[in-house]
C-alpha cells in the first residue's frame, strides 16, 4: 500500500486485532481467526453468564454466542462497531433470548429479541462514523482506570450482573439516588454521555 496518509479511522481500525479477525471470519469464513476470537472472548462470555445467574447454562450460552457470531459475521462492518462491542451485544441478546425461551413457548414470542435489542451496524442507513466509535472504546478503557471503585462497582453490577439501578441500591444498601448519581458521575467522566438532552 502506497497511501501516505491513511485516514485516522482506518489506522485506528487496523490497530484493533479483534476487529480484523472478525472481519476475516465474515469475509472468508476463516476458522483460525474464529478460533482466536473464541480463545479471547469465550472466557469473557462464560464469566458473563456466571455473573448474571446463568451459571448452569454458561457453556450453552458461550456456544450460542459463537454460533451466532459465525452466522452473522458477514454483516459485521468494523467501521460501525469494534468487534468487542459487537460481540458484547450478541452476548447480551443471546442471554436475553435464553431467558425468554425458558420463560415461554415460542408461540408466545411475537417479537424476536433482535427486534427489541439492536446489534450495532444492522441498521443499513446508519452513517459510518468509525472514528468516533472506535475512539470511544479506547477512551472508555483508558478512563475507566481513573474512576473511583464505587462507581466501577455500580456499573459492573448493571452490565455484568444485569441488576437494575434499584436492585443495585438494595444490594449495596444505599439510596437509589446515590446509585444514579454514581452512574451519572461515571458516565460524565467517561464522556460516554456529554449531556442529557432533556434535563
Amino acid at each position: 500500500m502506497t497511501t501516505l496518509d491513511p485516514k485516522p479511522a482506518k489506522a485506528e481500525g487496523r490497530k484493533d486485532p479483534w476487529s480484523q479477525l472478525l472481519n476475516k471470519v465474515g469475509k472468508h469464513q476463516d476458522r483460525e481467526a474464529y478460533h482466536a476470537l473464541f480463545e479471547h472472548f469465550g472466557p469473557q462470555i462464560k464469566y458473563y453468564a456466571m455473573a448474571n445467574g446463568l451459571a448452569s447454562h454458561a457453556e450453552e450460552l458461550v456456544q450460542e454466542v459463537f454460533v451466532s457470531i459465525w452466522r452473522r459475521s458477514c454483516l459485521y462492518d468494523w467501521r460501525k462497531a469494534a468487534a468487542s462491542t459487537w460481540i458484547f451485544t450478541i452476548a447480551r441478546n443471546q442471554r436475553i433470548d435464553m431467558l425468554r425461551k425458558m420463560q415461554r413457548s415460542s408461540a408466545e414470542m411475537l417479537v424476536e429479541t433482535e427486534d427489541l435489542w439492536q446489534i450495532p451496524g444492522d441498521n443499513e442507513d446508519e452513517p459510518v462514523t468509525s472514528l468516533h466509535r472506535l475512539m470511544s472504546e479506547r477512551r472508555i478503557r483508558e478512563s475507566l482506570s481513573h474512576l473511583p471503585e464505587e462507581q466501577v462497582t455500580v456499573i459492573a453490577k448493571v452490565y455484568m450482573e444485569n441488576k437494575s439501578h434499584q436492585m443495585v441500591a438494595d444490594e449495596l444498601n444505599i439510596p437509589l439516588g446515590t446509585v444514579k448519581s454514581r452512574v451519572r458521575l461515571a458516565l460524565n467522566k467517561l464522556k460516554v454521555i456529554l449531556q442529557d438532552q432533556n434535563v
Partner: protein
C-alpha cells in the same frame, strides 16, 4: 419527567439488557428514528464491552470449540444470515400495518384506548395504546408512578411543548397536563405503565398520557 429523548440512565439499562420487553420496545422504536440516541447507545454498548473485558475470565475448553464447529458444519452450507433482510419492525409484527384500524375502544370524548398487555406474556407491566382524535383534547390529569410513552403517529402538545412521532416521554405524579392532538392525523401513543393498575368502578382510571 423525561421529554423527547430517553435519559442516559435508561439508555444504560437498555444497553445492559436490563429493561423489560415493553420498555425495550419503546427505546428501540425511538432509536430507529433518532441517530443522536443511537450514537449514545453505541457508546454505552462499548462501555459494556469494556466492562466484560475487565472482569475475571473463566476457562473454556477446546472440546467446546469442537462442538461449536460441528454445529456450524451441520447447518446447510452457504446459508448465513442474508445481508440486510427486509426488516419488518417490531411494531408491525405486534400490531399489523394500520394502527388506525385496530379494535379501538372509545373512552371519553376524543380518546380511544386499546390494552395490548397480552402481547407481552410474562411481563408485569400494562401496555396500552391510546388515540386522541385529530384536533381533540384530553381532560387535564396527572400520572401515578412512572409511565413511559412513545408517539407512534401524529403529534400532541401540552404546556411543555409539542411531541412528534417517535418522541419519548416519561411522566409521573408531578406532571399534570392537558394534551391536545395537533396536526391533521389522530395522535397514537404507546404507553408502558410500570405497576399494573387496578381499574375500579364505572369512571375507571382512564389512560395516560392523555387522561386518567
Amino acid at each position: 419527567m423525561t421529554r423527547h429523548h430517553p435519559d442516559s440512565l435508561t439508555l444504560m439499562e437498555y444497553s445492559a439488557g436490563n429493561l423489560s420487553e415493553p420498555h425495550a420496545l419503546c427505546i428501540r422504536l425511538h432509536l430507529d428514528k433518532c441517530p443522536h440516541c443511537r450514537s449514545r447507545v453505541d457508546t454505552l454498548d462499548s462501555l459494556g464491552a469494556v466492562m466484560m473485558e475487565e472482569q475475571p475470565k473463566v476457562n473454556v475448553s477446546e472440546s467446546m470449540f469442537d462442538s461449536i464447529l460441528s454445529r456450524i458444519d451441520s447447518e446447510p452450507a452457504g446459508e448465513p444470515v442474508q445481508p440486510a433482510p427486509p426488516r419488518i419492525s417490531a411494531l408491525q409484527k405486534l400490531l399489523g400495518e394500520n394502527l388506525n384500524e385496530l379494535p379501538w375502544k372509545r373512552q371519553l370524548g376524543d380518546v380511544s384506548v386499546l390494552d395490548i398487555s397480552e402481547k407481552f406474556p410474562g411481563q408485569s407491566e400494562q401496555v396500552v395504546l391510546q388515540k386522541l382524535a385529530a384536533g381533540g383534547k384530553a381532560p387535564a390529569h396527572t400520572h401515578r408512578g412512572n409511565e413511559t410513552t412513545i408517539v407512534l403517529q401524529g403529534a400532541f402538545a401540552d404546556q411543555n411543548g409539542v411531541f412528534n412521532q417517535w418522541d419519548f416521554v416519561v411522566l409521573n405524579e408531578q406532571d399534570e397536563h392537558k394534551p391536545v392532538a395537533v396536526g391533521c392525523e389522530d395522535c397514537i401513543t404507546l404507553s408502558v405503565l410500570s405497576a399494573p393498575v387496578k381499574l375500579t368502578g364505572r369512571f375507571t382510571r382512564l389512560l395516560n398520557p392523555f387522561i386518567r
